[in-house]
Symmetry: D2
Subunit: 311 residues, 4 copies
Amino acid sequence: MTTEDSFKKPIKHANVRKDMTVSELTKEYDRCAFGAGRLAKAIHIYREMLEDDVTRFFGLAGAMIPAGMRQIVVDMIKRGDIGVLVTTGANLVHDMIEAFGGEHCHGESDADDLELKNARIDRIYDVFLADQHFTTFEKCFDAIVDDILNAHPETQFTICDFLKETGIRIDDRNSILRAAADHAVPVFCPAIADSSIGLQSWIFGYKRDLCVDAFKDIRQITDICHKAERAGALFVGGGVPKNFIMQSMLLVPKGFDFAIQLTMDSPETGGLSGATLDEAKSWGKVGEHAKTVTVYSDATITLPILVAATI
Amino acid sequence: MTTEDSFKKPIKHANVRKDMTVSELTKEYDRCAFGAGRLAKAIHIYREMLEDDVTRFFGLAGAMIPAGMRQIVVDMIKRGDIGVLVTTGANLVHDMIEAFGGEHCHGESDADDLELKNARIDRIYDVFLADQHFTTFEKCFDAIVDDILNAHPETQFTICDFLKETGIRIDDRNSILRAAADHAVPVFCPAIADSSIGLQSWIFGYKRDLCVDAFKDIRQITDICHKAERAGALFVGGGVPKNFIMQSMLLVPKGFDFAIQLTMDSPETGGLSGATLDEAKSWGKVGEHAKTVTVYSDATITLPILVAATI
Amino acid sequence: MTTEDSFKKPIKHANVRKDMTVSELTKEYDRCAFGAGRLAKAIHIYREMLEDDVTRFFGLAGAMIPAGMRQIVVDMIKRGDIGVLVTTGANLVHDMIEAFGGEHCHGESDADDLELKNARIDRIYDVFLADQHFTTFEKCFDAIVDDILNAHPETQFTICDFLKETGIRIDDRNSILRAAADHAVPVFCPAIADSSIGLQSWIFGYKRDLCVDAFKDIRQITDICHKAERAGALFVGGGVPKNFIMQSMLLVPKGFDFAIQLTMDSPETGGLSGATLDEAKSWGKVGEHAKTVTVYSDATITLPILVAATI
Amino acid sequence: MTTEDSFKKPIKHANVRKDMTVSELTKEYDRCAFGAGRLAKAIHIYREMLEDDVTRFFGLAGAMIPAGMRQIVVDMIKRGDIGVLVTTGANLVHDMIEAFGGEHCHGESDADDLELKNARIDRIYDVFLADQHFTTFEKCFDAIVDDILNAHPETQFTICDFLKETGIRIDDRNSILRAAADHAVPVFCPAIADSSIGLQSWIFGYKRDLCVDAFKDIRQITDICHKAERAGALFVGGGVPKNFIMQSMLLVPKGFDFAIQLTMDSPETGGLSGATLDEAKSWGKVGEHAKTVTVYSDATITLPILVAATI
């Protein structure tokens, strides 16, 4: 950017109209600065990322499934918008909870947590979840793991392969894990033990030996990086999904060509979650000429806009 | 809220579609939690706030005019959606800069500020503003103040009346100050000296005596509060606009019936900007049965949605 | 900074010991990065700012008096560490409430605000304040204003002069306003009406005419800026105090030589409160070669450290 | 808390003195609210947590080793203050980088990242790290893994055991991993693949088969929870370390008796990192009568204070 160029594009101010479409709204954001301008820029980058020769990585952190983003993610997978999914164990567990008939409910972020505990309700900010759904999850997940081991005795799985085998066995085409399996989208979850999947595997281990390797799917994701003609990353939140996607590019010469962050984490804490996409350029994770933007705003608001504007 | 009720409303997950309208998008937010759910709630409350018997206070902090929100605010005034406007000196100055022919431009938040300084460009996050527009502002504002004093010699103005007199003399119907004057919307700006209006008044003071009282428009805003059948407040950001609107209700028995905050300030700092709307209930600023919500997300994104969905 | 230089200073890691002093602790911070490193840098800058030829501006925003920072600020004034104080009306009101015998109490940030309201307790995050102290404030402040008007009938005050007259009449040498008056430290409060001082002045106005000018102390602060050999600014929080101090340097060629921010506001919202000190360089508010640092951390923790380490 | 009680403890205001000790400073924090008051409360809780019958879990997220917290953590281990350590792969890698002779350096958060890339320097906020140290890490870590496999051929390790074997072989008693091994402190790192350890294990895998199980150390941490008479958790940041420690209590009836968070993550994003410790009570992760506090402030500042005040 040169200073001269910057004065060729005045801020025109957003206009809103009754019955305008989301696409029209994002054109108004284009006329703005701050978060609106950045979201508009994210949409431009994302549109380019959706081109055929781009391998698309999607990092999904935060409690996005409990918060209501499940269908959007599933539809992204079904449309082919996600090439590689990296997420947290919690998001996968909450996806399965719904697949197994459970539901998350609208609650209050200032609820009395001891009352909730007595009512056997777990709280995730302003989402309530009846504890009984974990019981169902445990039963159903246990049956799935049994079935996996019956089909593949004495196999040592990578986490990615284990999740694929799990996905195949989920009887809900609106499950993220199932949709990913259906559409051959690899799902990575490095911290898989850090979730009820981990707890359940421990209980399961008392009856049968389940063997999932902590490291071996690094090869799978690195291979994808190597083969990618162009690579783009969309990050919802930071955490392990962001770091794992970023590091997968460390051994590839060129880095990501596109990167978009939808997050509320700010850089000032020094942690990786809030780190700027420029910082990633020093490491070579993001390419020198990459198109990047971070939108500092609630992702449950911005992700639906990003997707709706680019379908 | 009872725990039982909360389980009557499951989270249904947002769906997005090509060519969907903003109103349809916000119905999808209704199915979600976190920021999306809160924005949907804000829209329900705001719709009720737009009913005839509600006096609507609008607190506008943050650099919202440079960021591209000017037209939305002007149109809100023109539609009668704002009964009382409380804002910062900076927002009024940047409104006038545009009224006097200046423009804000798209810049970069990581620009080299010394280069900018040498190029005589002022930066507001990712907005650039040529310093020359302040020179124009000073000349035009000086002429307006001269004209005000010619018309009202030896008058001691309240800040609110001074801004009305200023607004009348701005030759741009898309100016916030002009639109407010045209539609009899009082504009309060307690920290008016904390802006280029203040600096310019100091320079002006060397030639003529301009007398604006710091306190006397408290009566004007308190009268409006007393007369309000029902009262609602929409806050963009915190700061003085939020505090001034809140305190105007301190001397009125019932407090606000509706309150919506669109902000990135969190409560954990202890400051008033990020304070919850519940905290305001302890003071009686917000009524016991008031409908309230805070949306923690970038207001340049959420304000256009809120307005587009409720026109 | 050149890249080569940066490799001359390795991070040595903090060591902590039983009975170490705060000064020793800050030497350990010097060995660290992130917030600790920035706080250490702030201490180095502040030590230089305390030299004789530096005019020191102190911007105090946030509810710092209720939170327990009153004595520290008063002692800074008494030691001559503050040359100019710019603060909010709220901080001055809470200072006076204590001067008039009231007290703030330890409360809980998740208290039930309706219960508090019924008990006539006002909440400021985790601070509780009995409403009755406002009644005392109103009575005492009313008497002071009466006395001011008796001594100076028909005077039009600047806000700064009005606060000085108020300070003189406060019978508590541990009051900020009183200490400032005792030590000839001018106190600016552009948004003075945005506080119980404003509300009370309105009630007072029904019996006598108090005339305080909104603009005229701009001259006072600008004069101080012009006369300063070197100028330094310490900001606790952002808001009007930060903006007002910053803009006071707009008409002076060289800008601040030193600037320190202790804040929880991040730049990403685009507002002035969280704006970087570099942004201020583009405007010329902060000098080209100024020494600056922002410490993103709770100021009730960092201000005591900064002061204790530099006495 | 009852409202009456709260009025028995007035805020006395902090006093700071030359040469005061950190312990004395924290007694002054006790007189304050907001962050200072919360830090003082954390110190009281932590002092109680240090009693003999408490099993102490330490969750260490964020780039705390690059930032200069390595020695403090090592000394905590040596003193017996940490019973169980849960951290990120990145923190372990940066610990080993220093053990193998590398160093982190003071840099600048606004450095030009492309310049850094060309100079082969990796940036972590305001920390610089020469890329060559990763080469050394790879070589040394490879030798360690070789040695582990020589000693334990055909073994399937848990992550915890693998880290113990690694720690034993690190020739630096100031390494976290070594100190933990020396003092029999188990180290858990569920997302171990999400770090250069993961990348290196992939390269290593081309020559020998390293087999580390993703799930099996769940049993180890759960056993510790079951055996704990009383349990306390100290969290620096959120992420996987926080979640993993919290979930380890899910299968134990009583939950944590003490919990302290030092973080900059706020609850408003809905994610687990910023979730309140009350939310954890609804799940039963934190006990009904637990003593808990969250300090929203930079942990590189607060952790040294917490430790120094309680040695």
